[in-house]
C-alpha cells in the first residue's frame, strides 16, 4: 500500500504539487492524469525521491521513504519513462541486468532473470538479448524498458507516460500486455498519463490533478458516473462518457438467453469477450437491435439487445 | 538634459560593452605601437646591459602593416578560392569530387602550419613569398571545410521551398544557401585569419617581414624585452581580429534568428 500524505512541492514561486493526499492499494494500478504542468510527473518523482518534497511524505507499506537512502529506495522501485532511456551503449541483456547488478546479484541469478523477463514480454532471447537498443523498433524498446524496470522484482513500479511516443496500434497492444503482466505478478503500478482512454483501460483508480491539486480520485466507473463539476467532467468527456462507461464492462455482463429474441440466420454475432461499447457499435453498424453472442469456440451462448445497453449506459 | 542623458547613456554603454573585445585590444595595440618608448623604464630590467630596450630596426607601425598585409592578401585569396571550390563540389555536378574533398578537408586539419611554411621555402625561396603562399594554402582548409559544412546544414526543405516558389539554381544559391551558411563561413575565415597571424609570425624565420622578427631578434640576442614587445603586439592583433570576426558572426546570426 502506498500513501501520499500532504505531499507539497514548491519550485521558486510556483507550487507544483499542493498538499496531495492519495492512497493506492497493493496490486492495483493507479493512473495520475491531468494536462501537462499539472504536477503529475512531479508527484511521481517524489515517490522515488528524484524530487524531494517541500513538505509531506510518502509511505510504502507503512514505511516512510525519507528513512531510506534514495539510491537504495530507487533500486526497489521499477521506473519506466516516456523517452524509455535505454542505455545506447549497452546491449538489451545489459540494460535489463542494470538494477540486479547494482544490487550485486550473482551472474547466474542475473542470467536467469533476463531469460525470465524476455519470456514474460514474449521476446526471443537469442534474437534480442545481444542487440543494441538503436536496432529495435519503438514498441520493442518500450518492452525492454518495462523488462528493465521489472528486473529486480519490485513490488511497485512507477511509469511516466510510458506509451506516449508509440503509434496507436502498438500502444494498445502494449497496454494490454502491461495489464496482463501486472495481474500476473500482483505488483502495484502508479502511472502518469494525459490520455483518459489509457487511464480508463488500465487503471483501478484514477487520480485527476489540475494546477498541482488532486481534484478527484476514484475508480474509472465511479469517475465516469459521478465526475466532479468543472475540470474532471471536462476531462472524462461530457457526451462521450456514456460510451467510455460501456467500454468498461464485458458483453458477458448483459448477456440474455437466446429464447427471449427471435434470432435467425441473418442476426449478426459478436464475441463474448468484447466490451459493451463494441456491441453497441456493431448494432449501429449492422442496423440490428439484437446481436447473437458467441463464445471463443464460435458457439452461440446468448444474445444482447440494444434496450439492455441503453439501460446500462445511463449516468444515474 | 537629464532625460537626454538617461536615454543616451545606456545605448552608448551597451555599445561599448558589446564591442569591448574589439576596443580594448585595439586601444592597447595603438598605444604600444605609437608610444612604446614610454615603457622604457618598465622594460629596462628585462634587457641585457648595453642592449637597446625598444626594438629599433623598424617601426612597429610598419611591422604591423606588413604583418597585416600578408594576412589580408593571403586570406582574401584563400577565401575566394575555398568558397568557390566548396560551392562547386556541393553542386550536383561536383558529386564525384565531394567525398574526396570532405576527407581532404578533414585530413588537412592534421597538417601543421609550420610544415606548410617550411615546404613553401624550397618551392619559392626565402622572403615574404613563401609566407604568403603558406598562409594562402593553409588558409584554404578551414574556409573550405566551414563553407561545406555551412552549405550542407541548410535544411533541404528550405531549398525545396525556394525552388517551389520559382527560384533558379543560382538564385537558390545566392538568396538562400549562401546567406544561411554565412555565419559558419565567417567562422572559417576567422579561424584562418587567427592561424595566419600566428604562422606569419613564424614566417620571420624565412625572412618574411612582420612582427615575428622582433621576437626572433629577442631570441637571438637573449633580449626578453624584445620578446615581450613582439609577443604582446602579435597576441593583441590576434585577439583584436578574433573579437572583430566574432562580433560579425553574432550580428549575422542574430539577424537570422529574429
Amino acid at each position: 500500500m502506498i500513501e501520499l500524505q500532504g505531499l507539497t512541492r514548491v519550485f521558486g514561486e510556483r507550487t507544483a504539487v499542493d498538499n496531495l493526499n492519495l492512497r493506492v492499494e497493493s496490486g492495483q494500478i493507479c493512473a495520475l492524469i491531468g494536462t501537462s504542468g499539472c504536477g503529475k510527473s512531479t508527484t511521481l518523482k517524489m515517490i522515488n525521491r528524484l524530487i524531494e518534497p517541500t513538505s509531506g511524505t510518502v509511505l510504502i507499506n507503512g514505511e516512510d521513504i525519507r528513512n531510506q537512502q534514495p539510491e537504495q529506495l530507487r533500486r526497489r522501485i521499477g521506473y519506466a519513462i516516456q523517452g524509455i532511456g535505454l542505455f545506447p551503449h549497452r546491449s538489451v541483456y545489459d540494460n535489463i541486468a542494470t538494477v540486479p547488478r547494482l544490487l550485486n546479484w550473482s551472474s547466474e541469478q542475473v542470467d536467469q532473470r533476463v531469460h525470465e523477463l524476455l519470456d514474460l514480454l514474449k521476446m526471443d532471447f537469442d534474437t534480442f538479448a545481444h542487440q543494441y537498443p538503436h536496432r529495435l523498433s519503438g514498441g520493442e524498446q518500450q518492452r525492454i524498458g518495462v523488462a528493465r524496470a521489472l528486473a529486480a522484482r519490485p513490488e511497485l513500479m512507477l511509469m511516466d507516460e510510458p506509451f506516449g511516443a508509440l503509434d496507436p496500434l502498438t500502444r494498445e497492444r502494449l497496454q494490454g500486455e502491461l495489464k496482463q503482466i501486472q495481474r500476473m505478478l500482483g505488483i502495484t503500478i502508479i502511472l502518469v498519463t494525459h490520455d483518459i482512454e489509457e487511464a480508463i483501460r488500465l487503471a483501478d483508480q484514477i487520480a485527476v490533478m489540475d494546477g498541482g491539486k488532486l481534484l478527484q480520485a476514484a475508480s474509472p466507473r465511479e469517475l465516469l458516473r459521478n465526475p466532479r463539476e468543472g475540470f474532471v467532467s471536462q476531462l472524462v468527456g461530457g457526451e462521450e462518457r456514456a460510451l467510455r462507461l460501456l467500454s468498461l464492462s464485458p458483453i458477458a455482463d448483459l448477456v440474455q438467453p437466446t429464447e427471449l429474441f427471435e434470432l435467425n440466420e441473418d442476426t449478426p454475432s459478436i464475441d463474448a469477450h468484447l466490451t459493451l461499447r463494441d456491441a453497441l457499435a456493431r448494432q449501429l453498424w449492422q442496423r440490428s437491435p439484437v446481436l447473437r453472442v458467441v463464445d471463443a469456440n464460435g458457439a452461440t451462448c446468448g444474445a444482447i439487445s440494444v434496450q439492455e445497453l441503453l439501460s446500462a449506459g445511463g449516468g444515474n | 538634459m537629464p532625460a537626454l542623458a538617461a536615454t543616451a547613456t545606456p545605448n552608448a554603454f551597451r555599445f561599448l560593452l558589446a564591442w569591448r573585445g574589439v576596443l580594448i585590444p585595439l586601444l592597447l595595440l595603438l598605444y604600444l605601437a605609437l608610444f612604446t618608448s614610454t615603457l622604457t623604464p618598465l622594460l629596462q630590467s628585462l634587457t641585457p646591459v648595453g642592449a637597446p630596450v625598444i626594438y629599433i630596426r623598424d617601426s612597429f607601425i610598419n611591422l604591423i602593416g606588413w604583418h597585416l598585409l600578408l594576412v589580408v592578401l593571403s586570406i582574401a585569396a584563400a577565401s575566394l578560392i575555398a568558397i568557390t571550390a566548396a560551392i562547386l563540389v556541393s553542386r550536383p555536378s561536383g558529386a564525384d569530387f565531394l567525398p574526396l574533398a570532405r576527407s581532404l578537408a578533414n585530413l588537412g586539419q592534421t597538417l601543421p602550419p609550420v610544415a606548410v611554411l617550411a615546404l613553401a621555402v624550397p618551392a619559392v625561396g626565402f622572403g615574404s613569398w613563401p609566407a604568403l603562399i603558406a598562409l594562402f594554402l593553409y588558409g584554404l582548409l578551414p574556409i573550405f571545410e566551414n563553407t561545406l559544412a555551412g552549405l550542407s546544414q541548410v535544411r533541404p526543405e528550405i531549398k525545396e521551398a525556394a525552388k517551389g516558389i520559382g527560384m533558379g539554381p543560382m538564385q537558390v544559391l545566392w538568396r538562400v544557401e549562401l546567406p544561411l551558411a554565412l555565419p559558419v563561413i565567417i567562422t572559417g575565415v576567422r579561424l584562418s585569419v587567427i592561424i595566419s597571424i600566428g604562422t606569419a609570425t613564424i614566417g620571420s624565420t624565412v625572412a618574411a617581414k612582420g612582427l615575428g622578427e622582433v621576437i626572433i631578434a629577442g631570441l637571438l640576442t637573449d633580449n626578453l624585452s624584445f620578446i615581450l614587445q613582439g609577443g604582446v603586439i602579435v597576441a593583441l592583433m590576434a585577439m583584436l581580429f578574433d573579437a572583430l570576426f566574432q562580433r560579425i558572426e553574432s550580428c549575422l546570426s542574430l539577424g537570422q534568428n529574429s
Binding site: 530507487r74 519513462i81 532511456g85 545506447p88 538503436h134 524496470a149 | 628585462l46 600566428g198 609577443g231 585577439m239
Partner: protein, 382 residues
Amino acid sequence: MPFRIDRLGLTLAVAVALVLVLLPLLNLQPNRILPGSGVPLGELIAQPGAQRFILLMIPTAILVCLRVHPALKLGLSALSLLVLIYALGSDSDALLAGSSGFARLALGSGFWALLLLLGLMMTDALIKLELGALLRLLLIVGYLAALFALLANGLWDRLSLMLEYHNQPTFWQQGVRHLLLALGSILPALIVGVPLGIRCHRSPRVRAALIPVLSLLQTIPSLAMFGLLMIPLSLLALSFPLLAEFGIRGIGVAPAVLALFLYSLLPIVSNTAAGFDGLDPAVLQAARGMGMSRRQMLWQIELPLALPVMLSGLRIVVTMNIGLVAVAGLIGGGGYGTYIFQGLGQTATDLVLLGTLPTILLAFLAALLIDTLIAMTQREAR
C-alpha cells in the same frame, strides 16, 4: 557493359600526365646547398626503373578514369607509388654517374606532385571502399611499413634526403622527444581539462567564466606564447637557481610544455562539455530513477556516452601539439622542428624536409589512430 567516366579520376589522371611532362622528378644539384637543375624526362626514361613505372602508370591512369571497383584503383595506385619509389632509388646510380663527389640527386617537384596525386587516388579509392575503421588503419599502417622497409633497405641511400638522414644520428631520438613533448603536455591537460569540462556542463556560470579565457589563450600565436612564457620562467630561474637545475629555464622545454598545456585546455574542456551536453536526458533520468549513484552514473553512463565527442577534442589537441612542438624547435625545445629551422638557416632543403615530413606523418598517424578509436567507441552507442 558500358564504361562510365569518373570525373575526379579523369582530372587526377590528366594532372599526372601534365606533371610527368612538365615537372622534373629528380634534381641534380652540384652540392648540398646550391639549387640544381631538373633531370629531363628523356634522360630519365632511358633508365629501366623509370620505364617500369611509366608502363604501370599508363594502365593505372586509364583505370582511374573509369568507374571500376575501388579495390582495383587502390591496388594499382598503391603499386604505382611503390614502383615509383623503387625506380627513383634504383636509377640513382646511373643518373649520378659522371658527376662530382659533392653532387646530389634530390627529389624534384615532379615527385612531390606525383606523391600528392597518387595519394589522392588512394584516398578516394579508400573512401569508396567503405572499409571498417580498424581494417583501414591496418591497411594504411601496413602500406607505410612497406615503404619504410624499402627505405631501410638502403634503396634511397644515394638520394639527398637519405644522405641527410644518415647525417643525423639522433633522428629517432628526436622523434621520441617530439612525441614525448607533444603528448607529455596532454596528460596534465586531460587531468585538469576533463573535470573542468564536466564543471562547465553542470554550471553555466563556470562555463561563461572559463571558455572565453581559454579561447583567448588559443588565439595567441604560438611563437608569441612561447616568448611570453619565457619571460616569467627566466625570471623564476634567475631568482631560484635550484629550479634551473631541474630544467625549468626560460629557453628550452619548459615554456613549450607550458604553452602546449594551455593550448590543449580549450579543445579538451569544450569537447568534454559538448559531449556531456549531448547526452539524452531520458537516459540520465532512467539511470537515476533506477538507483544509480552519481559516481556510477558518471563512470557507467555519462563518460562512455560522451567519449566519442571527447576523443574528437583529443584529436584536435594531439595533431595541434605535434605541429606546435615543431615551432618549439625554434626556442630550443628539440624535436623535428630543430631540423626544420636548422635547414631553413642553412638553406638546406633536404634537412627541412627531414624535419617536415616526419612531423606531418606523426600528425597524420595520430589523427588516424584517434579516428579509429572514435569509430570503435561510436559503433554501438551511435
